[in-house]
């Protein structure tokens, strides 16, 4: 817990850790409902989206680098609320950060949210996959 997290990540972490396990699931559900639809410019370009195979449900992500920082876009079916919740957490966690800041996010950020027992470590693996893929997309683009 001594990691230095960007403020918006620390805020999300603290929000989860402040409540009991049952409420953490409720919070995850709220995040899942906040996942915005894919912007139409990406919806029309499925080739840009990357499948997160670590997730049990079909989810696709795309990381955009704009003038105002990084944005993560994701699409996942309504029948996969846990996966949508993970995507929504990450989308809000990285939004507007610089590329360097996103690359510096600790890889075990998903494990910091206190969801292991309520969600199961297996299910949490999906969020690890999303974070790693987002970072890899950014690293590739930074190197190009």
């Amino acid at each position: 817990m001594t990691e230095i997290l960007p403020a918006q990540l620390a805020e999300i972490r603290d929000e989860f850790l402040a409540v009991d396990e049952k409420s953490r699931l409720q919070l995850l559900l709220e995040f899942s409902m906040e996942l915005p639809d894919l912007p139409s410019r990406y919806a029309e370009h499925p080739d840009l989206l990357e499948r997160v195979v670590e997730c049990q449900s079909p989810i696709f992500i795309f990381v955009e680098v704009a003038d105002d920082g990084v944005h993560l876009h994701a699409t996942a079916p309504r029948e996969a609320p846990t996966t949508r919740g993970f995507a929504s957490i990450l989308a809000q966690a990285v939004d507007g950060l610089s590329v360097e800041e996103v690359l510096a996010i600790p890889s075990d950020f998903p494990q910091m949210l206190g969801l292991g027992r309520a969600v199961s470590p297996l299910r949490l693996n999906g969020m690890n996959g999303m974070l790693q893929r987002a970072k890899r997309q950014l690293a590739e683009r930074a190197a190009a």
Partner: protein, 298 residues
């Protein structure tokens, strides 16, 4: 009190037709005294997004697994869980869930470990119910707590441990995972995360019969003649066989256990819930790779 069985003709030929209900049967009886509907899903939040009116949620991980040891909860915790969900010992429990009822079958199997007698599956599961436009709600279910007795779990009849499987080698084993997992080409189901088994392959002599073979396109179980063709003609099971089924953590094999036990009527079927995540990491157990069952280890 147990409730009347579903006499639908499509179930009549199965060995135990009373273990299945149709979506129609269930919708007509929602709210009936003595009937409890249980949703069990892979996605831990799916119930919250919408469930059958009056259904309660039981999660395989947070409710049925022991939080510390890799095992199921004990009789006291099971009694607490069922009491809190308003389930009495003689209630009829109908299970349904996502993924063609994998987790519903798993929960049903755990209920059987505790000897809960009247357990049934909703044929076609959650997807069929929704596809038919039947009612769903996000309203919280309020059931009056029940007093479920403390019953000791009996693992001896329908559950196999690793040592049981070692002693069983030479008798029929059914591997219900995907062909890729069976051959050892991969360690997890296609599109599923790595679950940490150290070796890939299958238990020597096991036949590969992926769970999904038992299910038609609409998620319902295939008719008896088709199931016989798959499990008797192709996999070679015979009446009187002692059968063990396994997968990765025991959920898909609960589904096959249900088919073998209740639809085909084999009377000695065990689910090896340790499955590949245990076998594939255990030291000095035999493993076969490739598409063939492999030799019986000496």
């Amino acid at each position: 009190m147990p409730i009347e069985i579903d006499e639908s003709p499509e179930f009549a030929e199965y060995a135990y037709p009373e273990r299945l209900v149709t979506t129609n049967w269930l919708e007509e009886r929602l709210g009936a005294p003595g009937l409890v509907v249980v949703e069990s899903d892979e996605d831990v939040l799916l119930y919250e997004v919408g469930h059958i009116p009056g259904a309660v949620k039981i999660d395989w991980h947070t409710d049925l697994n022991d939080p510390v040891q890799r095992d199921y909860i004990d009789g006291e915790r099971f009694a607490e869980l069922l009491s809190s969900r308003g389930i009495a010992r003689d209630d009829t429990v109908v299970f349904y869930g996502d993924k063609s009822n994998w987790w519903a079958a798993y929960a049903l199997w755990v209920f059987r470990l505790f000897g809960h007698s009247d357990v049934r599956l909703l044929d076609g599961g959650r997807d069929k119910w929704i596809a038919e436009g039947r009612p769903m709600t996000t309203d919280a279910t309020a059931r009056r707590p029940a007093e479920y007795p403390v019953v000791e779990r009996d693992d001896s009849v329908i559950r196999a441990y690793k040592d049981d499987v070692l002693a069983h080698l030479g008798n029929p084993l059914i591997d219900v995972r995907s062909p890729e997992e069976y051959s050892g080409e991969r360690n997890t189901a296609p599109a599923y995360p790595e679950e940490g088994a150290l070796r890939s392959g299958h238990i020597p002599t096991a036949s590969s019969v992926p769970w999904s073979k038992a299910v038609a396109d609409d998620g319902t179980f295939r008719p008896l003649a088709e199931l016989n063709a798959i499990y008797r003609d192709e996999a070679g099971l015979k009446d009187g066989d002692d059968v063990v089924a396994y997968c990765r953590i025991g959920e898909r094999s609960s589904h096959t256990w249900f088919v073998l036990q209740y639809l085909l009527g084999f009377n000695k079927v065990r689910n090896y819930d340790g499955s590949w995540t245990e076998w594939g990491s255990a030291v000095r157990v035999p493993i076969a790779v490739g598409e063939e069952p492999g030799e019986l280890p000496r």
